[in-house]
């Protein structure tokens, strides 16, 4: 307010005219004359050309991207799909998680481990306690050493983690022609493109590699895989799995379900996290409104007061 009144009180144009006049014609000067003050044409031309060259070379040097890899080595970028569970106010579709876990168990689990997910984490998410206990008991786990120091086998419990299909990395490589099937617990977080990439990879196998593509021995062609040569072949075909809820098991349906399941495996906290986020935003919006009101309340007397200077009246 104060600054604005100060500005308004001084005539604007008058100041501008005055300062312009003062700079262009000086009352007394030590310079040679008026001509030397304005720069000659060739200087303007040189400066403009130099500026243009500098900007052009900077744009040339910094405007280009450098690619260390060929597009084939980079892999085809996956399509961005409208995932329902990726929206800010949507949870996972737990029926889809259940179907996806079925796909994992019947298709993926023969090669890929899911070692960071315990049986208990499925309870109350996509299965009942009894179902999960039965599933855990189908697997054998090592016991603690007994009195003789020997390790026996016991049926699995809810607190056990899902067993890996191979004993160790070497066994996995030996069984898969030297390629290691990655653990799928965090694969959605661990790959560029996340859900889109895995869905594209699973559904992106062409019937035969395109003409001119070099596919190594025992490898398969998949344009979405960096390098295009992938040891895993196409595994999802229509009807590989029979869903218990009657959903048609097409390739894309199974890929979508298993990708959503793998996303849950990587972020099991997502549902709660989003709900907390919505609550926090609602609360903080209210608190922000209150703080704005308090600020205005506290500042009202200061903003609205008027300071008046009454000069002393001289007595005569």
């Amino acid at each position: 307010m104060l600054a604005r009144t100060v500005l308004r009180s001084v005539p604007f144009r008058g100041v501008a005219r005055q300062s312009l006049n003062k700079t262009s014609t000086r009352a007394s000067s030590s310079a040679a004359g008026a001509e030397s003050a304005s720069s000659p044409f060739h200087l303007t031309l040189t400066a403009s050309a130099a500026t243009a060259v500098a900007l052009g070379s900077a744009a040339y040097l910094y405007g280009q991207e450098a690619f260390a890899m060929t597009p084939a080595e980079e892999g085809l970028h996956p399509t961005a799909y409208p995932w329902e569970h990726a929206k800010w106010n949507k949870t996972f579709d737990h029926q889809a998680l259940r179907r996806g876990f079925q796909v994992y168990r019947e298709v993926c689990a023969s090669c890929h481990s899911l070692t960071r997910v315990p049986w208990r984490s499925f309870v109350g998410v996509m299965h009942t306690v009894d179902e999960m206990k039965a599933m855990a008991e189908e697997n054998e786990y090592d016991t603690e050493p007994n009195d003789q120091g020997e390790i026996e086998k016991r049926p699995g419990k809810l607190s056990d983690y899902i067993p890996a299909p191979y004993k160790n990395e070497e066994a996995a490589r030996a069984a898969n022609g030297g390629a290691l099937p990655p653990d799928l617990s965090l694969i959605v977080k661990g790959r560029h493109g996340g859900c889109n990439y895995i869905f594209s990879l699973l559904t992106g196998y062409p019937d035969e590699p395109p003409a001119g593509a070099v596919v190594g021995e025992g490898m398969n062609f998949n344009p979405y895989f960096p390098g295009t040569g992938i040891a895993m072949g196409r595994v999802l075909f229509d009807g590989v799995v029979e869903y218990e809820d009657g959903t048609p098991a097409t390739t894309s349906q199974m890929a979508k379900d298993v990708v959503e399941f793998l996303n849950w495996a990587a972020e099991p906290e997502m549902d709660d996290r989003k709900k907390m986020g919505v609550k926090a935003i609602a609360l903080l919006t209210g608190l922000f409104a209150v703080s704005v009101w308090v600020k205005r309340y506290k500042w009202a007397p200061i903003k609205t007061r008027k300071i008046v200077y009454s000069p002393p009246v001289s007595r005569r």
Partner: protein, 85 residues
């Protein structure tokens, strides 16, 4: 200060707004005794938390109708009971 309105308050408080925003009942009932004041704060916090959580959970469930475990649970719990019979 020309045209100063006569105020019941002393002149040095003239920067305060003429009408305080809180009703008198708050000042009388709540702020006089610290115990009452604290109790009402804790009680209000408890009641607000309860109401806010209930309301926001309801809104959240309406966003996600049919997607959560509690929406599909009945299919599997009933099935397990039928197997037992």
């Amino acid at each position: 200060m020309a045209g100063a309105v006569r105020s019941p308050r002393p002149d040095r408080f003239r920067y305060l707004p003429a009408r305080l925003p809180f009703p008198r009942i708050f000042k009388r009932g709540l702020f006089r005794r610290n115990a009452v004041y604290l109790t009402s704060i804790f009680g209000a916090a408890f009641a607000f938390e309860l109401a806010f959580d209930t309301a926001s959970n309801k809104i959240w469930d309406s966003f996600n109708r049919g997607r959560q475990w509690k929406d599909i649970k009945y299919q599997y719990v009933n099935k397990a009971e039928e197997d037992d019979e």
